[in-house]
Symmetry: C2
Subunit: 377 residues, 2 copies
Amino acid sequence: MAQQDPLERLLSLERPNKDLINIMPLQTGSVLTEAARKALIEFGDGYSVCDFCTGRLTDIVNPPVNAFVNDLLPPFLGCDRAILTYGARDGIFMVLHSLTKPGDVIVVDKNRHYSTAVAAERAGVTLVEVPHSGHPEYVVDAEGFQDAIAEHKPSLVLVTYPDGKFGNVPDAARIGEIAREAGVPFLINGAYSVGRMPVKMRELNADFIVGSGHKSMASAGPSGVLGMSNQWTERVLRISATNKKKEVECLGCTLRGVPLVTLMASFPEVQERVKAWDVQVEKAQHFSAAMQQFGFEQLGEKPHRHDMLSFTSNVFYEISQKVRERGYFLYKELKERGIWGIQPGQTKTLKISTYAATDEQLEYVLQSFKDIIAKYS
Amino acid sequence: MAQQDPLERLLSLERPNKDLINIMPLQTGSVLTEAARKALIEFGDGYSVCDFCTGRLTDIVNPPVNAFVNDLLPPFLGCDRAILTYGARDGIFMVLHSLTKPGDVIVVDKNRHYSTAVAAERAGVTLVEVPHSGHPEYVVDAEGFQDAIAEHKPSLVLVTYPDGKFGNVPDAARIGEIAREAGVPFLINGAYSVGRMPVKMRELNADFIVGSGHKSMASAGPSGVLGMSNQWTERVLRISATNKKKEVECLGCTLRGVPLVTLMASFPEVQERVKAWDVQVEKAQHFSAAMQQFGFEQLGEKPHRHDMLSFTSNVFYEISQKVRERGYFLYKELKERGIWGIQPGQTKTLKISTYAATDEQLEYVLQSFKDIIAKYS
């Protein structure tokens, strides 16, 4: 194929994989609902959300941003106040930038997302990690926060609930209890829980919760939510001295565009789907059990309590050492079978989310793994 | 009309005004191109841009984010390096957060956008404003930066090019010269220029330039670009100590979603349209001349050099004092005539952009103003 002019390529951007069975952990929670797909088209133009703005994004009545942010999100998140962000990481940085000063320490779980470390770096704070149990379960024990807090006197405690690598769901409520006893504010990174599983900030004894629209709320990105208790609104949502309708930490308005309408349009369905979370957990456990029968070892908690799964897959790695395509053979074999989500080149460990696929599709994925192993044996 | 359940309203989000003649300054530069509209639908799902990510957003080859950010944007902006942001304000904050420390001073033009003041507040820096000439032209004299810089020793000089209120285009190249002589880095806020008019950072003697996808680049929001000279990349685009593929100030990745593909898909057309900027200026001047014949006073520079126009409109204000709908009569009359963009309640001054409307549509807008005046006389 001749190298195409990049300018020409921009005119026909396509996703060759968009109709395949999707098992990519990043993507399974943010497939748009039908309502979101319609809203996306309706509000595609820049600043379309601001048609009827009177100065504050979260006051807009049409589309009903006001009702969404002030009436619907707080009970959904189990918090007092909610605000829109560009994503979970941006909410974390907003909290760090409001609550800490450079040189402070924050205590986080060892399974934290990379962006938590980067947000800490941007805020100039030091990250202290509560370790996990190591291979194969990588479990973070809530009690580990006790010592870390006592030793480091952090300005914030953060837990990743669940983490994006193993899908482990830590005992956040207990960590919240420990943080509260120590008088340290506690933030839940719910990028992979808010919008997938039932999660209420208050029940987890937390002061803050962040969620991600483009990870788990059936929304286009960049989009996210930050919930907090009343105690912190004055500090995190402080109003500009020169602009009485603008929050400093939001730089005025955040989500001024189409990801906000997809977040809103999907919300009624998202609110419902979290109620069926046990079905998702069952699906994941069933899939994991079948994978283990093939000789794949599931990493992370067992029994597993989330749709994000990691497996060691030595059999695929061994094949990759013998075939011409090396590590890419698996990606290719799966793509030919209509399965999307294993990173090209990945064979040693497989990261899979069972969230978006149906039971039948998951059976087909399992059968495909079986067939591929047989083909190369 | 009975009050509708907010949850139900979320399921059918609509823009009643989407097919009207659009003269709203916020919106005329970001109507999507056809290519962007297709890309929007193709890449609606969350994290779809990341299908083929290998760890860094700006390395992605499919869709061609890499070529767009590294090959196409720098010559377009007249800079050495470009990076993606959520919008102009976010680019400004990234620079402030990298170059200044709390307590520093920055010197800006009096016509600066509100978000510049909020970004400064967020970074803890003090804003010193170079005044404008006041009513009716509100012109910021480049030479005014001389004294302000000498007196306040700022860490950054910023100019709004043009401002969003009057559409005045300051002599940025001269301000850049002054800043350079004083050894102070200089940032151009090009939210209303990048994507509308030809603008090259280097020719304006600037170190940084920010643009807005959802204001002037025919893109969905939130989206923006930040360009800079090589001298500053190490500081502003510093790499995380723990993640070698992630820029700290970007929190890793910024535009991980659909606004990025609309920004890219529209780019070929945007790159072309800036070449026809003189046609836009002519259109604006023609419109302004006609408005002045009706007795509206144009504020800001004359002759005007941008499609953003402000007029005092006492005749409409006087009508508003006599009619039942008060200030809303004008919005209503225009909407009935298929014209969108005058804020509800606004009558004393009109903010209008002629950018998106055709000559015929602008004639129709003028005739409508005339008819409305006649109706109430």
